[in-house]
Structure formats: structure tokens, C-alpha cells
């Protein structure tokens, strides 16, 4: 939930009038509240003179700094927000007719909506005494000219943006739009009683289309987003085919991404050997590069029965001079070759060590 506070730059110097019916109704509330119309007029002169600073609107509270000859004064006007229940009823009124929300979105307040809300006991516009002013000025009029000036400025603000009134009453535009929708739903009893058809057949497996291309956006590598879509597609196909979720930790996923998209290798900060290992055999291939384990007799028997040359054996690694075969947990042999003092994945993994060694 965002914070329900908005700031508005005040209108600058220049004579203005509230033009909308709701703006005028707002001013009417001010005039009705005021005991001294001279102060209201004074306030309008202040407003016209551009003496009001930035206006802050939040539920139940308007505030601004008003400049006067002697000093700057902090002025607030309070208006009671609607209760949650009142909001529920008011949103119901808005939702009853699309035209209400449409008008509000077009920055107009339909009289019919205000009347309907009033009938439902929801006061949208302030009435006499509803605007409660407070000011740091020494004057004792209520409202003082500073508060009156603020009210005038807000009336003009309402002309162009009636959502200010709704915010003052407690809700932001987004909340109102979200809330002002028909309830929908279905009676639970009926829903349970209704016979539902059998589930439709699964959709056909379709070849992936071309990856989407996105328009450039600030701060986004849209080409990489396209690759993410491709990744998601590959992943979804895997789940559809095997029911397995090929979950990888972050480092392995980096290796996978770099092996799939060489262009991203530098960004992904991976070792060239890791990429080769992934290309050689995916996750088991990478494991063969990084892990060693003690295979069972079967592996040794396989080596021996293949009539292969004698090898120096350590855990799952059989070394013949600058060649090495690693027996991985998936039961396949992974070929390696020594270059510049380290072992590099090479050749195609196979269940037959002779085939792998032969290729090396």
C-alpha cells in the first residue's frame, strides 16, 4: 500500500475562480463555515496573490505554508475521512454505473454519484462546519485568512483534479478504481451444487515460436529479457516432458546461461572450463569437472573389460598420460585432456569408456 500523501504546487499569482460545480460547492462549505465573509474574501486575495506554498493532501488533512507580510504560517484544514464502511458503500455506488468511474477518470464529478452517495449516507463534499481550519498565525478568526486562502487554492485544484477530494476523504485513485468494481463471485452453495464438466484435454505441445523482441526500456537489457523468456520456455518444456523441475543453484545457473548464451559469458563471471563442462554434459558434466567420488566396482570392471590401457586411477578419474576419463554419477564416462597444466573437458560422454578414450 502506497502512502496516501500527495503534494501539489499551488497556483501562482493571478485571479481565478472555481469553475466546477464541486469546486464551488467546496467554497460554499468554506463560506458557510466562516463567520466573517471579509476573511473569506481576504483569503481569496491571498490565494490570487500566489501566497500559498505547496499544498499537501492526505486523508483528512490539507496543509500548506501561507506567506504573509509578517511571517510564514503553517496552515491546515481538516476534513473527516470516510470510514471503511462508508467507503464500501461509496465504492458500491461508483461501481453501480460504469459512467461514474468513467467521469471521475475524466476528472469530472457526476452530481448523480454525489447524490446517490448522500442517499447512502456517505458525505463526499464537505458541508457547513466540515472544514476544520488551524493555523500558526496569531489571528483568532475561524477560518483565518490563511486557511481561507488554502481552501480557495484547493477549490481550484479540485476543478482540475477531483481525485484530491477522494484522497482527502481517505483513498487514492488507484484504490478507488480497484475497489469500484462489481463484486462478482458466485454463491458458494450454487457453486458446489453445479455439476462441472470434465477437465478439458491438455493443450498440444507446440514448438516454441521466435523469442519476443521488446522495445528498449530505461535501465533494462531487453535483449537479455528475451533470453529469459527463452529460458522459461525451455524450462517449461522440460517440466511438461518430465514433470521435473530442473532447479539449479545460482552458480550452476550462471554456468548454464553462459553455455547457452556465449554473449553473456563475461557478465555472468564464469570459468571457461565450467562452460565447456556444461556444454559437454549439462549438470552431470559440470559435476564431473568439480567433484570426485568413489565409484563402485562396476566402473573398474568396465575399464578392465574394455581392454583399455593401464591407467593411473584416483577415485573416479582414470588417467592415461594427458588423457583422463571421469566416471560420473549418471553412469557415463566424461573425457578430459590436459592443456597448460589443467584438465579440460573434451569429447562426448558415453557409457562405454573405450568409445570416449578413442575419441580423445
Amino acid at each position: 500500500m502506497s502512502e496516501r500523501v500527495r503534494g501539489f504546487p499551488a497556483f501562482g499569482k493571478g485571479a481565478r475562480h472555481a469553475r466546477s460545480w464541486w469546486g464551488r460547492a467546496w467554497l460554499q462549505a468554506l463560506e458557510d463555515t466562516s463567520l466573517d465573509q471579509r476573511v473569506v474574501r481576504q483569503g481569496r486575495r491571498y490565494a490570487n496573490a500566489g501566497l500559498v506554498g505547496t499544498i499537501t493532501v492526505s486523508p483528512g488533512l490539507l496543509s500548506a505554508t501561507v506567506h504573509d507580510t509578517d511571517d510564514n504560517h503553517r496552515t491546515t484544514v481538516r476534513l473527516t475521512p470516510l470510514t471503511d464502511d462508508e467507503w464500501r458503500r461509496f465504492l458500491g455506488q461508483i461501481a453501480a454505473k460504469t459512467g461514474h468511474l468513467a467521469a471521475l477518470l475524466d476528472r469530472e464529478v457526476p452530481r448523480e454519484l454525489v447524490d446517490a452517495a448522500a442517499d447512502a449516507g456517505v458525505p463526499l463534499l464537505p458541508g457547513i462546519g466540515d472544514l476544520d481550519p488551524e493555523c500558526t498565525c496569531p489571528g483568532w478568526e475561524l477560518p483565518c485568512r490563511h486557511a481561507a486562502a488554502l481552501c480557495h487554492q484547493v477549490a481550484w485544484l479540485l476543478d482540475v483534479d477531483p481525485w484530491v477530494l477522494l484522497l482527502l476523504r481517505g483513498r487514492e485513485q488507484a484504490e478507488v478504481v480497484a475497489g469500484a468494481r462489481p463484486d462478482g463471485g458466485e454463491s458458494a452453495v450454487e457453486a458446489f451444487a453445479r455439476e462441472v464438466p470434465v477437465l478439458p484435454p491438455d493443450p498440444p505441445v507446440v514448438d516454441p515460436g521466435p523469442l519476443p523482441e521488446f522495445e528498449p526500456a530505461p535501465g533494462l537489457d531487453v535483449a537479455a529479457l528475451g533470453l529469459l523468456v527463452g529460458y522459461a520456455a525451455a524450462r517449461a518444456r522440460a517440466v511438461l516432458a518430465t514433470g521435473e523441475w530442473p532447479a539449479l543453484d545460482e552458480r550452476r545457473d550462471r554456468v548454464r546461461a553462459a553455455a547457452t548464451h556465449p554473449g553473456l559469458a563475461t557478465r555472468l563471471d564464469v570459468d571457461a572450463r565450467e562452460v565447456l563442462a556444461w556444454r559437454q554434459g549439462g549438470a552431470p558434466g559440470l559435476a564431473a569437472l568439480e567433484e570426485s567420488w568413489n565409484p563402485g566396482r562396476a566402473a573398474h570392471a568396465a575399464w578392465r573389460s574394455g581392454g583399455l590401457p593401464d591407467a593411473e586411477v584416483w577415485r573416479n578419474r582414470w588417467t592415461v598420460r594427458d588423457r583422463q576419463l571421469r566416471f560420473a554419477t549418471d553412469g557415463r564416462w566424461y573425457g578430459y585432456r590436459r592443456e597448460n597444466g589443467s584438465w579440460w573437458p573434451a569429447g562426448t560422454p558415453d557409457r562405454d569408456p573405450a568409445a570416449v578414450l578413442g575419441e580423445l
Partner: protein
């Protein structure tokens, strides 16, 4: 149980069951509608995906689990197809949602939602009594989005993307990307029903116009923002077409019933106004919408050739057709009686524009004049109540239309009395003129100069054979007409109605000038002309001029305008000419301006221009020398004598010179006599050229004093209009200077080359002419030395005569030589009745004198006796 959240990937599935312990307590509703709390396990949707996809294969799974399993498969299939798109949620968070979805996807989701058991959504909606469950379809869609949102976010995704947005599982606040992710929506209306209509609101995604969703569905799912945009769009549509205001009274603006009057209004202009507001209207596919109305024109044949006179009218009827098939009278009656915008015709519901129904009731329209009807038949359309309507001509009117369109009907041959062979295109011109004039329609022949408009017209006269033909032309062309008539139609009476004591004839050709015609229109109107010809008809292009009005007062069975300038480029000129040849065809001038000239010339409306071309095309024949069909028929060089009359001033001067100098010659002998003869000849030639040249005036007024100059102006105007170029030769540098000044005064660019021009400058002058900077190049013979290449010229004018044709040929060859691609026309201007005329005649007939002239030039004349000389120089009329 699926519980949606924002962003979608944080949604959870809650599993509960009798044998399932759980850490969470959730409230569910049972079949009895009662709420109860149960133990449950909440699993993030991402973790639930493998579980559910396995459950899909498990025949013993609970129906609710099986359902979400099936939903997972649908979601995965979408993801596997790459059908995910980045979005910004209502909470301004990054999310991958399924989409774009095609029709099959939407159908699949609908079917899936239909099959959702209540147990799969047993969490009650808050604050509802009795208990209510969430609608199935929005819930399914939210689930699909939730699955889609987890999939691209692999462990290394943030590394790969270089930033967490749309890559990290953690929610990212990205309000700034909303504009990028969303393109907004637009709405359209789908009209449904036949017995009773309704308009269903459809919402289109602007980013992918193929994505359409009914508003009803959108309101059930979709983001707040999309709904807001659709709401505003509907309000604007309601402003464009008020019947939609009823949508705004609904909680969900899904559809409104349409009254028949609404549908009629929609057909009339509602759809147009909605289209202007960006809202398309889609009609039911099985509704026949190709009911069309065309106008049928018919006219009875009259025997008189002037059946396009004002009394003759054509009937105008509406013809309504389904496709190309006209409605029967019974069907028309049914249509006329229809009170609804749909009518059952030929076993199908047919949409009927109220305007069409009205036309079915009022089938007969006000008759129009026959010429208007012909215009409509030619353009194929007419304007009725401000609307363009297709037109079909029938009966005799259609015959006329077809005859005009196709000349191959009864091909006429060249008239036997014509003493010349017509070229193919001239014969075509004759046939065309015959066709148009025999229909009483008139025509404008606008061939390029030199293609033989005069001979074609003479052939037309001979072919028509009957009554007298009046030719109105500029004074400078009278002589040419007379000579060509005498040459090509020997024996045909030809009379000039010009000058003092002029008389008329009622046979053969009568030639007159525009000036005389203006003065004597009443007398000319008394003759029953078979044909009136306006030569160089651009002279009457100002319809308000006295000349043009006088011309209109001369009645004729047929009228032909000849012009060498491309009148079709200036529509008001074209109107002036065609309104004379074919009165009424183009309407009044103000009507013509409004209907044709403004749309064509100002608005550049192509459709109107095409209709206009169809309308005037048959009445205007213009061939260019360069046309592929014409050029091969033209000889490379055509030489024409251009006789012109002397002005009164010239004639008086000429006679004075003859009197004075002949007296001097009679008084002298020997060398003195020879000198005076030469002086006489020179003086006479100068008088023929221009009085100002003879009188050596220092700052003379030039226009209106020389017949030759008037003709030169005519020729130059035409050549310039044709975008041609001309060499003008004169023996006299003084005359050349006068011509240069005169042309410049008239705004015609020219260069002058004479004997005194420095050699270096000559080349520059030639280059400027060859480059097309000026259309006229003036030369004196002495300057025409070798090495001059002036092949840009396609016309050569000999302003005065060289007695020796070989010299003329040499001059002509400046233009006609290797490199010349266009035919060259040579115009020799000859002052009628003067010594020039006499010598030209001699040269033609090759008399003995001619030989000596050829041999010795002007000196030959010095040998003549006084009587012979007097006979030679005497001015004859």
C-alpha cells in the same frame, strides 16, 4: 486452493485435507455454504508447479488438485511457446504475465474455468453473506500469470539480465516501466443478433491489435489500469454516439440492446462518428450487407441531331441490387414497406440502410437533362443529395455512351473530294470529329501544332457535305485557312468575311476573325451554319469576354474547337471551350468550379480527377507530336507557307512606296535604275516585316501593326505552350532587334545572334538555347555560318523570304540535322498579295524568272521592264 497476490509470483496454493497436517489455518466454505477453519499447507506457486504437474498424471488426485494440475499444464504450454510478456502490476511491481493470447488460448482458458470445481476455489470472498466464491475465470487467469511469473526467474537470471527487474524473484518497484510495458487499449463494438440487436463492447490491446477481449471478460479479470482505460474509452465513444450512454449506467459496460432506430442511426452516420472517435463497428457475419443502390439513366431517342438540347430529358431511377443482382419489384416492395433495419431477402437477413429503404419507396427521381445524363453516364457516378452514387446508363443513352467510348463502330473513310492523303491519326481524328458532331455533341481537337488540325477539319467539312461551315480564327491565320482549303478541297467555295464591304455566303467555307465575329455576331447568327469552328480556341478562354459571348450567339448544328495549347491543364479554360462546343456538359461555371475545378486543382482529389477525366475525355482529343503512335507518321521536316494579310497601315505604306519608287524607277536608267529597283524591293520587304522597321522608328510601338508579327506571336505562344523551341530567321538585324524587344516585352525568353556577335559569345548563346534556357533563338542569315548546332529547335520560322530556297534550307538545317530527334516544322511567313507572295508563287511554279532569281538573287529583278516590275510589286487583294 489458489490465493492470488501481487506480484503474481508471490501467490500461493493452500493444500488442505483430512490427512494433511498444516502450519496454517485457512477459512473455507463447504457445499452447505458454511465457513469453517481448516489446517492447511501454503506453498509458493513456484514450488507447487512440479507437484501439480505430477498430480495431473495421478488418476487418484483430488478433483481440485487435478484441476490446478491441468491449469499448470496450460500455463506451462503458454510459457513453452514464449507467450509471456513483461508487465507492471497495479502495485507498480515487475511481473511476467501470460500473453499475447490467441483465440484458441482464450477458448482453452474459458473451457478450463468452466471445469473448475468449487473445491478449487473454496475460500469465501470477504464480507459476503451468504458465502460467495470467486469467479472461476479470473482466478484461472491469475493462476496462469502466477506460474508464468516464476518461470523466467532462474537463479542466474539477475546476472544474465544485468538488473533485478523481471529477473529476480524479489518484487521490484518499477512504476517508471509502465509506459514501456503497456500500450493502452481501444474499444470496438460488435453488433449481434438479428431479431433484436445488441452492441457488445470489445477491448483491444493497442500493443497487439489482434488481441480482443469482451468487456465482460475484461471486467472479470485484467488490471485496474486496463479497466480504467477501457472505461474512459467507452465514455468517449458514448459522446460520439449517444445510444452507448446506456453502457455507462451499467456496473459492467459489457453490452447494450440496440433499438431498431439505433441501428438505423448507426447505419446512417453513427458508425462514421464512432470511427472518427477510434471505435470500429463489426456487423454479424451472417448479415448480408451488400445491398447497393445505383442510379439508372434512360432517355428516349429523338430524331433530330440536337437531342442533347435543353428540352430532351432523361429519366432517373434507383436500382437496388444484392451484389450484382437487381431486386425484383416484389422485393423492392418488401424493402419499401420495411420498418426495420433488417429485411428478409432471398432467405437471408439483409441490413438495410434507411436511406436505401427510402430509395426503394421513391424509385423515380427528378428527370435530368439529357446532357447531364450523358455526363453521369460517362463518369459512372452522379451526386444525389450530396452523395456520390454509382450510375448505370441503359437504352439509347448507353448506346451513345458506348459509341463515344468506341470509334470502331462504322469507320468512315477519307472523303473522296479531299485532295490529300490523310495520315492514320488524322483519319482517326476525322472519325472522332464525325462521331461527336453527328451526335450533336461538339468536340475540341487539341493536337499539337503541325499535326494537321486544319486538314482534318477540311476533311470533316467535306464528309458532312452539307451546309456552310464558319471558321473563326485570328486574323493572322485567315490566309493559311484559305490556302489550305483551296489546296486540299479544290472547288469548295471559300470566302473571307473580313474587312470593309464583307459579305456572307451560305455554302462552303466562310472565314472570319474573332474581331469581326464580335462586331457582326448578329449577321453571322442569321446563317444556318452546319458547323462552326473556333480555331485557336484559347482566344475565347475568358467566357465573360465580348468575343466569347458573341461566339455563343452564333448557332450551329455542331461546334468544333481547335487549339494547339494544352487546355486540359487549366480547367477554367477547358470549361470555356467545352461549354461552347457541348453546352451543359460541364454545368455552369460556379457549379463546375465547386464540383470539379476545386477538388481537382486545389484538393488534388484523385477520385474526382479520375471521374473528371472520364467525363471530358471523350470530348477532347489531344495528340502530341512525341506520342509513340504519332511520331513515326510525321515526316522529319514539314514546310508550310504561312500567308498573312498586311495591316491597314502596312497596306497604305506598301502602296505609297510602290507609287513613289516606281515613279523614280520610271525616271531613271542604267545603274541608277538598278539601284532603285533594289531599293524598292528592300523597302517593300521591310514594310511587309513591320512598318517600324521601314520607318526606322527609334522607340516604336510594335503590336497590332504587322500581320507577320501577329502570326509570329500565335506561333510562339503555341510552341512555348508545347514546351518546344523555335529558330526565327530574318535577313535584317534591325528586324531581329525589334523582334527580340517585342518577345521580351511579352515575357518570351529569347537570344539574338547576328553577324556582329563575337565568336566567343556565339557559343555561349547557342549553349543557352540548347540547354533550354530560352525557347526562341533569333538569327540573321549572315550569322548562320557553319558549326552552328541548334538541334533543340523543333520549329523554324522564316520571318521574311530569302529568294533562294537553298539558302533557306541551309538555315533550316541548323535545326534539322544529326542529333535532332523530333520532327521539325518550317513556317515561312508570307505577306499576302505582296511581292513576297508573288515570288513564292513563282518559285512554286518554277517559271523562268524563278531560275534567274535562283541564279542571281535580287539582281535578276533589275532586268525586268517597268511593266513587269509593276506587275510584280503591285499590291493585290
Amino acid at each position: 486452493m489458489f490465493e492470488a497476490a501481487d506480484p503474481p509470483r508471490t501467490s500461493t496454493l493452500a493444500f488442505y485435507g483430512d490427512d494433511l497436517p498444516g502450519d496454517d489455518r485457512i477459512t473455507v466454505v463447504g457445499p452447505d455454504g458454511a465457513r469453517r477453519e481448516v489446517d492447511a499447507v501454503r506453498v509458493p506457486v513456484g514450488d507447487a508447479v512440479p507437484l501439480l504437474s505430477k498430480a495431473r498424471r495421478d488418476p487418484g488426485a483430488h478433483p481440485a488438485t487435478a484441476f490446478w494440475g491441468a491449469s499448470v499444464v496450460v500455463a506451462l504450454q503458454l510459457v513453452a511457446r514464449g507467450r509471456v510478456r513483461p508487465a507492471v502490476t497495479d502495485g507498480d511491481l515487475d511481473a511476467w504475465l501470460v500473453g499475447p493470447l490467441d483465440t484458441a488460448d482464450h477458448a482453452r482458458i474459458r473451457d478450463l474455468a468452466e471445469a473448475m470445481p468449487a473445491h478449487a476455489r473454496a475460500v469465501p470472498l470477504p464480507d459476503r453473506s451468504p458465502a460467495a466464491l470467486a469467479d472461476a475465470e479470473p482466478l484461472v487467469r491469475a493462476f496462469l500469470d502466477a506460474v508464468a511469473d516464476t518461470m523466467p526467474r532462474g537463479a542466474a537470471a539477475v546476472h544474465a539480465a544485468g538488473a533485478p527487474a523481471f529477473a529476480s524473484p524479489e518484487p521490484q518497484h518499477v512504476p517508471h516501466l509502465r509506459g514501456w510495458a503497456e500500450q493502452g487499449v481501444r474499444i470496438s463494438l460488435r453488433v449481434e443478433g438479428l431479431e433484436e440487436f445488441r452492441a457488445v463492447v470489445q477491448v483491444h490491446d493497442l500493443a497487439d491489435p489482434s488481441l480482443v477481449v469482451d468487456a465482460a471478460r475484461l471486467w472479470a479479470g485484467a488490471s485496474r489500469r486496463t479497466r480504467s482505460e477501457a472505461t474512459v474509452a467507452i465514455r468517449r465513444a458514448a459522446r460520439a454516439w449517444p445510444p452507448l450512454e446506456r453502457l455507462l449506467d451499467l456496473p459492467v459496460p459489457d453490452e447494450v440492446p440496440l433499438l431498431d432506430s439505433d441501428v438505423e442511426d448507426l447505419l446512417r452516420d453513427g458508425a462514421v462518428r464512432l470511427a472518427a472517435a477510434g471505435v470500429d463497428v463489426h456487423w454479424p457475419r451472417d448479415l448480408v450487407r451488400d445491398l447497393t443502390a445505383t442510379v439508372v439513366l434512360d432517355a428516349d431517342r429523338l430524331d433530330r441531331p440536337s437531342f442533347f438540347g435543353p428540352d430532351q430529358v432523361a429519366t432517373v431511377d434507383w436500382r437496388l441490387a444484392l451484389g450484382d443482382d437487381p431486386l425484383t419489384p416484389e422485393e423492392l416492395d418488401r424493402l419499401a414497406e420495411a420498418h426495420r433495419p433488417v429485411v428478409r431477402l432471398r432467405d437471408r437477413w439483409t441490413l438495410v440502410d434507411p436511406e436505401l429503404a427510402r430509395r426503394a419507396r421513391e424509385r423515380r427521381l427528378k428527370p435530368v437533362s439529357a446532357i447531364d445524363a450523358l455526363g453521369a453516364a460517362l463518369t459512372g457516378s452522379t451526386e444525389i443529395d450530396g452523395e456520390q452514387v454509382r450510375v448505370t446508363a441503359t437504352g439509347w443513352l448507353d448506346e451513345v455512351r458506348a459509341k463515344i467510348a468506341d470509334l470502331s463502330g462504322d469507320p468512315i473513310g477519307p472523303p473522296p473530294a479531299l485532295a490529300a492523303t490523310l495520315r492514320d491519326y488524322q483519319l482517326h481524328g476525322l472519325r472522332w470529329l464525325h462521331r461527336m458532331t453527328s451526335l450533336g455533341l461538339g468536340a475540341c481537337l487539341a493536337d499539337d501544332m503541325g499535326l494537321g488540325k486544319t486538314i482534318t477539319l477540311i476533311a470533316l467539312h467535306l464528309h458532312r457535305g452539307c451546309g456552310p461551315t464558319l471558321v473563326v480564327c485570328p486574323a493572322s491565320l485567315l490566309g493559311n485557312w484559305q490556302r489550305e482549303i483551296e489546296r486540299f478541297a479544290p472547288g469548295t467555295p471559300v470566302r473571307r468575311f473580313h474587312g470593309p464591304g464583307r459579305t456572307l455566303a451560305d455554302e462552303g467555307f466562310v472565314l472570319t476573325t474573332y474581331g469581326t465575329m464580335r462586331l457582326d455576331a448578329e449577321r453571322l447568327a442569321e446563317v444556318e451554319w452546319d458547323l462552326v469552328v473556333a480555331d485557336e480556341a484559347q482566344h475565347v478562354k475568358n467566357p465573360a469576354s465580348d468575343t466569347a459571348r458573341a461566339l455563343r450567339r452564333v448557332p450551329a448544328r455542331s461546334r468544333v474547337a481547335l487549339t494547339g495549347t494544352p487546355v486540359e491543364n487549366t480547367l477554367s479554360e477547358l470549361w470555356a471551350i467545352l461549354d461552347w462546343t457541348t453546352p451543359g456538359l460541364l454545368g455552369t461555371l460556379p457549379a463546375f468550379r465547386a464540383r470539379w475545378a476545386k477538388p481537382v486543382e486545389v484538393d488534388r482529389d484523385r477520385a474526382v480527377a479520375a471521374r473528371f477525366a472520364a467525363l471530358v475525355g471523350p470530348f477532347l482529343l489531344r495528340r502530341r507530336k512525341s506520342d509513340p503512335g504519332i511520331a513515326p507518321e510525321l515526316p522529319a521536316k514539314t514546310e508550310t507557307d504561312r500567308p498573312v494579310a498586311l495591316t491597314r497601315e502596312q497596306a497604305a505604306l506598301y502602296e505609297a512606296v510602290v507609287r513613289e519608287l516606281m515613279a523614280e524607277i520610271g525616271d531613271s536608267t542604267g545603274m541608277a535604275r538598278r539601284g532603285r529597283v533594289v531599293k524598292l524591293l528592300t523597302a517593300l520587304k521591310q514594310v511587309c516585316n513591320h512598318p517600324a522597321q521601314y520607318l526606322k522608328e527609334s522607340a516604336p510601338r510594335l503590336p497590332g501593326r504587322s500581320g507577320k508579327l501577329e502570326l509570329l506571336d500565335e506561333l510562339v505562344d503555341t510552341i512555348v505552350a508545347e514546351d518546344g523551341a523555335v529558330l526565327v530567321f530574318t535577313q535584317y538585324v534591325a528586324m531581329a532587334r525589334l523582334l527580340a524587344r517585342h518577345l521580351s516585352d511579352r515575357g518570351v525568353g529569347n537570344r539574338l545572334l547576328h553577324g556582329g556577335t563575337p565568336v566567343a559569345e556565339r557559343e555561349e548563346l547557342v549553349r543557352r538555347f540548347q540547354d533550354g534556357e530560352v525557347p526562341v533563338f533569333l538569327l540573321s542569315l549572315k550569322a548562320a555560318g557553319t558549326g552552328l548546332n541548334l538541334t533543340r529547335a523543333d520549329h523554324v520560322v522564316h520571318y521574311d523570304r530569302w529568294w533562294n530556297p537553298a539558302v533557306e534550307d541551309q538555315a533550316t538545317d541548323r535545326a534539322y540535322r544529326i542529333g535532332q530527334t523530333r520532327p521539325v516544322q518550317v513556317h515561312r511567313i508570307i505577306a499576302e498579295g505582296t511581292i513576297e507572295d508573288r515570288i513564292a508563287e513563282m518559285l512554286r511554279s518554277k517559271r523562268s524568272l524563278a531560275d534567274s532569281v535562283l541564279a542571281r538573287g535580287e539582281a535578276a529583278f533589275t532586268e525586268l521592264t517597268d511593266a513587269e516590275l509593276a506587275d510584280l510589286v503591285e499590291l493585290r487583294s
